[in-house]
């Protein structure tokens, strides 16, 4: 098994797509962090001047809102929390890239007929699926490690840009949990995509289904703040209830719950905090251990693949 994983590792290391996706991921992440810093600076300027970008005076409520947003940005960008922020942001495109790479790398064994050459060497079908899944998961670990390293190295710079507070290592452990969880959550994506490719014997359907489903998960996650309901008991529209049921079983949503270890709120955090303050709760499941159980289920799916040949 270790020999097969080593062979797969060598192959992925020579594949241009692995390096292209890694460079692209880091570039996008750098732009995202830079965007957050720019947004922070802009908000601070607006609060200081009491004017918006187009010189319209800010209302007291707007100033209060801006201050709230500044606090959230500073919380995310101060060191060492910025390590966790980088890991969280990285999963946005990162999980898409994991789907693409897992589908392409596995699919080429069918399209190039190299799978036959491997099986003719006494490699079992189950062994192949297991080794490919493990190798791809380890490769995703390299991407997470690269992001974490860059976040550690650039963290002091980001911190200095975001706040005047002195650097403290408090919260380092919690910050490092994010890269770990981001990597662990790659396994269900890899495993599910490998399973689809093996069943379809080509990359196309897995790529199409994987990207579509994950895109849908992203779109649905925009609705997350609206999956909250006040304890005063407001009736939710039926389509929200159906959407919530679907979202609750998708790998992407459960990976996010696992990553955040609770409600994966990154969209409209102010609204969510306000709703929470008003006693609202989520109508979609947000228990981390439930998400872990789902992820284990998705992660274990390739073991059934050899049954279908």
């Amino acid at each position: 098994m270790h020999r097969l994983v080593a062979a797969e590792w060598l192959r992925m290391g020579r594949h241009w797509l692995s390096w292209a996706l890694l460079v692209l991921l880091i570039a996008i992440l750098a732009l995202q962090v830079n965007g957050k810093l720019n947004q922070l600076a802009q908000l601070e300027r607006e609060v200081e001047a009491g004017l918006t970008r187009d010189d319209t005076p800010l209302t007291p409520a707007q100033i209060e809102g801006n201050r709230y947003e500044i606090a959230l940005l500073q919380r995310d960008l101060r060191y060492p929390a910025s390590i966790g922020t980088a890991a969280r942001l990285g999963t946005g495109f990162g999980w898409f890239f994991v789907i693409v790479f897992a589908a392409v790398a596995t699919g080429e064994d069918f399209s190039r007929r190299t799978l036959r050459a491997l099986l003719a060497r006494g490699v079992g079908r189950a062994q192949y699926v297991l080794a490919r899944t493990l190798a791809l998961w380890l490769a995703s670990g390299v991407a997470v490690a690269a992001i974490t390293l860059l976040a550690v190295l650039s963290g002091l710079y980001t911190h200095a840009q975001a706040t005047d507070d002195p650097v403290s290592l408090a919260g380092l452990g919690e910050a490092l949990l994010y890269p770990l969880r981001a990597w662990l959550a790659c396994l269900p994506f890899v495993a599910t995509v490998v399973l689809w490719v093996v069943l379809a014997r080509q990359a196309g359907p897995a790529l199409g289904v994987g990207l579509s489903v994950h895109f849908l998960e992203h779109v649905m996650s925009f609705m997350l703040p609206f999956f909250m309901i006040s304890q005063t008991g407001v009736e939710m529209p039926w389509f929200f209830r159906v959407e919530g049921k679907i979202l609750a079983v998708t790998p992407g949503y459960n990976a996010n719950v696992f990553l955040y270890w609770g409600p994966p709120v990154s969209i409209l955090p102010q609204l969510v905090d306000a709703l929470r303050a008003a006693g609202a709760t989520f109508t979609v499941p947000t228990e981390p251990w439930r998400a872990v159980a789902f992820l284990i289920g998705y992660g274990a799916s390739p073991w059934h693949a050899p049954c279908w040949g």
Binding site: R3, R11, R14, W16, R113, T114, A117, L119, G122
Partner: protein, 311 residues
């Protein structure tokens, strides 16, 4: 496994794909250290047989053993001692030839990786090993395929059309190389080919497969002797053919111009001459027919097809 035991053995091997019977009770035996030719027209079942021997396809009935292991149980252990090219060699085009070998070597054994330089030298790819496999010509890919098959230091090589894409010099070189693998390195080679003269030159024994059935099996020289005929140049060929056809040990006689081809053992030529002389016919020239494997193959497959059509 003892040295006398067959390296490959099949017992009534049968494979059906739905209603199509690709293999129908195939029995064959490949002995250690020989180059075994596997012949058959397209669709005869050659690739299906190879796929079964490599565990890629399961037989519908019957069984097969490779290096003493049943293809249904424990074949993966045996396959570590087998090198194979199935149909066209498959590689990762974005990797160099050497790296492609490294991938297959890592899968095979820890020692295989150390053999890469020697194997590259052996197949004549030294100096081109750093080039991307995608830039290789068909002939070079074929050589790389052979290198991949050899990298695990296999006891048995299963080669499906290994000279495909090679130029005449390359084919000649490959044939000599395959012979050396058996004669000098003691490897057993199971060679599937449609190039009959290639099989005739390289193989010790052959099996001829037609429509999923074995129609002949044995030493190449024995098979060649199966086409036993005498040719004679004679006046009145039609009358001579009629006379010889009355002999019960003559299987047939056909005239072509002034030549008469008689299906009979060449060592009984004096009896043929005596029969003709008794009727006042004297050939100008008599010669035994030196058959090629191609003739044997065509005759046998024609016979088998005619029998099948008659049935």
């Amino acid at each position: 496994m003892n040295d006398a035991a067959p390296v490959i053995r099949t017992f009534d091997l049968t494979k059906r794909f739905g209603r199509l019977t690709a293999l129908d009770g195939v029995n064959l035996e490949v002995r250690r250290g020989e180059v075994f030719g596997f012949l058959g027209p397209n669709g005869a079942g050659k690739t299906t047989t190879i796929a079964i021997l490599l565990g890629l396809v399961h037989p519908s009935a019957g069984s097969a053993e490779v290096l003493g292991c049943d293809v249904r149980r424990g074949l993966s252990r045996a396959l570590r001692r087998v090198g194979a090219i199935v149909e066209t060699p498959a590689f990762y085009p974005y990797m160099s030839g050497e790296d492609n070998l490294r991938v297959f070597a890592r899968v095979t054994s820890d020692a295989a990786e150390k053999r890469i330089p020697a194997v590259l030298e052996q197949v004549g790819l030294k100096g081109r090993e750093r080039d991307k496999a995608g830039a290789y010509s068909l002939g070079m890919r074929q050589r790389l395929g052979l290198a991949a098959a050899l990298v695990g230091d296999p006891e048995l090589l299963i080669l499906d059309e290994p000279t495909n894409g090679l130029d005449p010099a390359g084919m000649q070189e490959m044939r000599a190389f395959i012979r050396r693998l058996a004669d000098e390195e003691g490897r057993t080679v199971f060679l599937s080919s449609h190039l009959l003269h290639e099989v005739e030159q390289v193989c010790d024994r052959v099996v001829i497969l037609n429509k999923g059935r074995v129609i002949a099996q044995g030493r190449v020289d024995e098979l060649l002797r199966q086409t036993r005929a005498v040719e004679m140049r004679i006046a009145e060929t039609a009358r001579a053919a009629g006379i010889l056809a009355t002999l019960d040990w003559v299987q047939g006689a056909s005239a072509e111009g002034e030549w008469l081809r008689v299906q009979a053992p060449p060592e009984r030529a004096p009896e043929l001459l005596a029969a003709l002389a008794a009727q006042g016919l004297f050939p100008f020239e008599v010669r035994p027919v030196v058959a090629s494997l191609e003739q044997v193959f065509l005759e046998l497959t024609d016979e088998a097809n005619a029998e099948a059509a008659g049935a």
